[in-house]
């Protein structure tokens, strides 16, 4: 009958709305379900856990003797799709008096980097790695152009 259908429709509608409202009210009275993380605070209280593989920035690790593993082979420069890496080489004079190619500056332009990991994959001597530092904001764009090898550093012995 028409009237019965009409009333059924109305009550069905109200019931469907009621289930939704019950769900939101359940969340309203269960503040423990809140998943917000407070960004600058969570660094201090230890909630901010970054995955160890998270790719934030390319760095060149140096050991305690200020030595790195980069031979200046430019494999990373070739692998980079964006021209982020530029390697400036120089010639060192070894104690034997031979000329040896070494890096002068490992220029890394963070503003062009897409964190694709191809340079790290390409590096034959594992000289560069990705760190999970993600706070890159600076006031001047020039600060994003970084020189990865520390001043005075030299290549570790035994890496060709």
């Amino acid at each position: 009958m028409f009237i019965v259908d009409y009333i059924k429709e109305v009550f069905g509608a109200i019931k469907s709305l009621g289930t939704g409202m019950r769900r939101t009210f359940w969340y309203f009275v269960h503040p423990k379900e809140i998943i917000t993380e407070q960004y600058p605070e969570n660094k201090e209280n230890g909630q901010l856990i970054l995955a160890e593989r998270f790719r934030g920035e390319v760095v060149m690790p140096h050991d305690e003797n200020n030595e790195h593993a980069c031979t200046g082979c430019t494999a990373c420069e070739l692998a980079c799709p964006n021209g982020t890496i530029k390697i400036v080489t120089k010639f060192d004079i070894t104690p034997e008096g031979k000329k040896k190619k070494a890096i002068d500056q490992f220029v890394y332009r963070l503003e062009m980097c897409t964190m694709c990991n191809l340079c790290v994959e390409a590096c034959p001597s594992d000289a560069i790695i990705m760190t999970n530092d993600f706070e890159h904001s600076v006031y001047d764009r020039n600060e994003l152009t970084k020189i990865l090898n520390k001043p005075g550093s030299k290549i570790r012995d035994g890496i060709e």
Binding site: V10, M21, T24, F25, I35, Q38
Partner: protein, 359 residues
């Protein structure tokens, strides 16, 4: 002694009339009332916005604003400061007069509609004998402000939003009015203080049988629609019309729209609380029990605001749960469902009122 604001208002009135001549006393009283209303507006704006944001956040498993002040309580103060400082931008080719007038019309109607609201026993600005008619009449003027804003903005989104809003408010006035009529019939008066007094022995929602329950539900729906709140926020319809009729407004003019929206919510909820939930009347069960005595010691103004904020919470709860209706469905809902139900309901209520079956 029970706390009542009536003594304060009476003694202030008496002192003023004794000290000054009646005209000056009246003027001073007007100034006091104006200051109080504006203070209430500011208070409502600040409280309702933070309440809405917190309710939304908790339903959406978020924390909500929590940076300014303790638990983010001063967030709205900061927002208001920002809106005051912002440039009140007027775009090219707008009808400047109407464009600047519209927010004030919306605001003034909201202010005027507050006149007959009884905040507590005897704490009422103007106890006019057609109080409830006055409120319904005044609140429907605000649609003119919205239409003005939409038309003068020289923006198609604004125009669409304003037209939607016009159609919507004209339709939902009907069911809001009819559901109010049920209470008016049962109380036998349009004067708000009489309606409240009629609920001294129990709120209408408890003693009015099913017709009052139905009209309460319909009133809440119509109130949501009349204040352009989701799921009936066709005038703004964020995902369709960006911001609807106030797309082009910024700065303080936008703040006025924003404030008026929240004040309107407060007014319709206060009307709902007065008509259905007994206004400032405390909750009573039976007669002369200890429970009733305890309830009597809670001041009327607390009851009034408690009930109003409960209704406001329900309306916010709607907003953060439901999807938006489409404009034709919105009108269908009114003309196909709410209006017939309202008319049948009115008939039932008439029978009950005539036969005196209500408690």
């Amino acid at each position: 002694m029970k706390f009542s604001l009536e003594y304060i208002t009476k003694s202030v009135d008496g002192w003023l009339n004794a000290t000054f001549n009646p005209t000056i006393a009246f003027l001073i009283e007007s100034v006091i009332v104006m200051v109080l209303v504006i203070a209430l507006f500011a208070f409502l704006g600040l409280v309702l916005v933070i309440m809405e944001r917190k309710v939304a956040a908790f339903m959406q498993i978020r924390l909500g604003p929590n940076r300014v002040g303790p638990k983010g309580m001063f967030q709205t103060v900061a927002d208001t400061l920002k809106l005051i400082v912002k440039e009140g931008f007027t775009p090219n080719n707008v009808d400047k007069f109407l464009f600047n007038l519209a927010p004030f019309i919306v605001m003034i109607t909201a202010m005027v509609a507050m006149a007959p609201l009884p905040f507590a026993n005897g704490f009422q600005i103007w106890d006019v004998n057609i109080g409830i008619l006055f409120i319904t009449a005044i609140t429907s003027v605000s649609v003119i402000g919205i239409l003005m804003a939409g038309w003068s903005s020289n923006n198609k989104y604004s125009l669409l939003g304003a037209m939607r809003s016009g159609a919507q408010i004209v339709s939902y006035e009907l069911s809001a009015g009819l559901s109010i009529l049920v209470i008016v019939m049962l109380s036998g008066s349009l004067r708000i203080s009489d309606i409240v007094a009629a609920q001294a022995d129990g709120w209408w929602i408890f003693k009015g049988h099913i017709p009052v329950l139905i009209s309460f539900v319909i009133f809440i729906i119509a109130a949501t629609a009349e204040t352009n709140r989701a799921p009936f926020d066709m005038a703004e319809a964020e995902s369709e019309l960006t911001a609807g009729f106030h797309t082009e407004y910024s700065g303080m003019k936008f703040a006025l729209f924003f404030l008026a929206e929240y004040v309107n919510i407060f007014i319709v909820c206060a009307v709902g609380a007065t008509l259905f939930l007994g206004g400032w009347m405390p909750l009573h069960f039976g007669t002369g029990t200890a429970f009733n005595t305890v309830m009597d010691y809670i001041p009327g103004i607390v009851w009034f605001f408690g009930k109003t904020f409960l209704l406001i919470f329900i309306i916010m709860w709607f907003r953060w749960t439901f999807p938006r209706l489409r404009i034709d469905q919105l009108l269908n809902l009114e003309w196909k469902y709410l209006l017939p139900i309202c008319l049948v309901n009115l008939l039932l209520a008439t029978i009950i009122a005539i036969a005196g079956w209500h408690f």
